[in-house]
Symmetry: D3
């Protein structure tokens, strides 16, 4: 597995476990909601992942972008679709999104190396 | 035409005209890009409008939300799809998105009154 | 009741009802969480309301500020405590918070007129 | 005086007075700093006003934009310079800045009507 | 001392010193205000630290979060109170706050290792 | 060349090349606009670089700040002018800008080491 992707996933899992082992119900429910919100509904999983990606990109959250790139890649999103999504993020959110676009393209390459389509 | 929708469109058109009549090339090109970015591509117009909507919602820009609700409505997005998009925005962007969700639902109703599907 | 406070509450209630009458579970659960998060816990209701207020202020959400001013006022927060909370918001969030501080002070006066302590 | 400009200035003055009459030292000092920061220094007043304008624009604070348009106009900034500043804001901050650009152009016209250069 | 906490504090001190040795009065005064704003007042130091923490969390500033975790820990805030504060931040600011919550929990553990309560 | 500056520039160039080799026209045009917007116009290159710097600073984008520090340094901006620009950013954007100010001062020193004026 690509070191970049693996490190990201391991840190994420380790800390999520610690957070969920605390007694805080509000945080637990937000984590649960996160799973529900991206499930198949009136919109497809793929569309929802792209919605999560563009929201993460304009809010400039690298870890959130990486997470949605990962799930988008697994749900069959192509590089062209990902780039089109990121182009809307860059237009709406401005050139301050570009550094996150650079890291997104780098992470996407790591995903491609890890599991070639 | 619904007064709410009409007023929004008239102000928007009037001011866009003034802005584009200035000699500023950078602004003119950004306005042009806005048209290109939402055109049919690897992703459908409908998906792109939802991407524009969710980006506008998490960045909490009422006028941008109204604009994308209008174009989304015209490209056949259903109320359920719009609400699902806004639910992702509210989850990713937090409860501060809720006041914008209220105004979005109000604007959507104005669109429905104006042109029943 | 102060017209300002009444109008705010009426619009809020009317739109919340419409939103909650839709079939969107994610949004319903976020609304529920909002109630739970500010309930007495390891921290008092009053402290939590001030946390909600400062978060709303630095994120510059007027409706969220108004909502937390209302509940803070009802849970016995004094004007001095409210101003101290807003001063931290203005320092952390910068002078762009000042226009929201102006409207917060105006809304607080409306609350004082409505129900003198 | 243009009604738009006058109303803005009156509300601003009235609320600032109320805020400064409270006993909160932190807020008072931030208000003082605001005056100092835009005074002639290594950079000219005009350049500083444009810096304040672009910062207000990318942070999408209409009242802050109006304030800096007013002071920029009075310190001799031309419409072309203002538009160039706003074009950088729109590029860096994205198309979500456009609704604020519309209102900025409208406010600038009100300033021009009030005191023709 | 925990390496994580030590490195953070050393870099912070070194750079603050450089910044304060420049001739910029506005920056110096903002640094001073920062000390005043969190001093005992109408609200307790502990409450103010939690206000600083939640503001830093919703604005997603890791260094600011670390700083307030450090001072909150020293003023006797418990882990449960910290988590409750962060749960309000995550609800108000949305799931984009979660990556910062992960790093906050990690930093808190470093503080606990350094000086067990 | 300073390692810090060199690494920043190399990563930036490498990723920009990858991004521009994709078929996405919207992104390409935004990259082009970025060049045009900072060219001599009604405002000087130096003023425009400072506008780009303050916008990047209040939006808290470290890579954007580094980029504008680099171009500002090359266009003859002095340390005092840079600090005055950053002081406006810190006032308008709040104390959450301070961590970025620390890294900006560090990057500026790397630029000074690399090419003494």
């Amino acid at each position: 597995m690509s070191k970049k992707v693996q490190e990201f996933n391991e840190y994420r899992s380790k800390m999520n476990e610690k957070i969920l082992s605390s007694d805080n119900k509000v945080i637990k429910r937000i984590f649960n909601l996160d799973t529900n919100a991206y499930a198949e509904g009136h919109l497809s999983v793929k569309t929802k992942e792209l919605l999560g990606l563009v929201a993460s990109a304009v809010l400039r959250c690298d870890d959130c972008i990486a997470y949605h790139l990962d799930t988008a890649y697994k749900s069959g999103v192509t590089k062209e679709e990902m780039m089109e999504t990121m182009s809307i993020a860059t237009l709406v959110g401005g050139t301050i999104v570009i550094p996150h676009l650079r890291r997104a393209v780098e992470f996407w390459e790591a995903l491609e190396e890890e599991t070639p389509n």
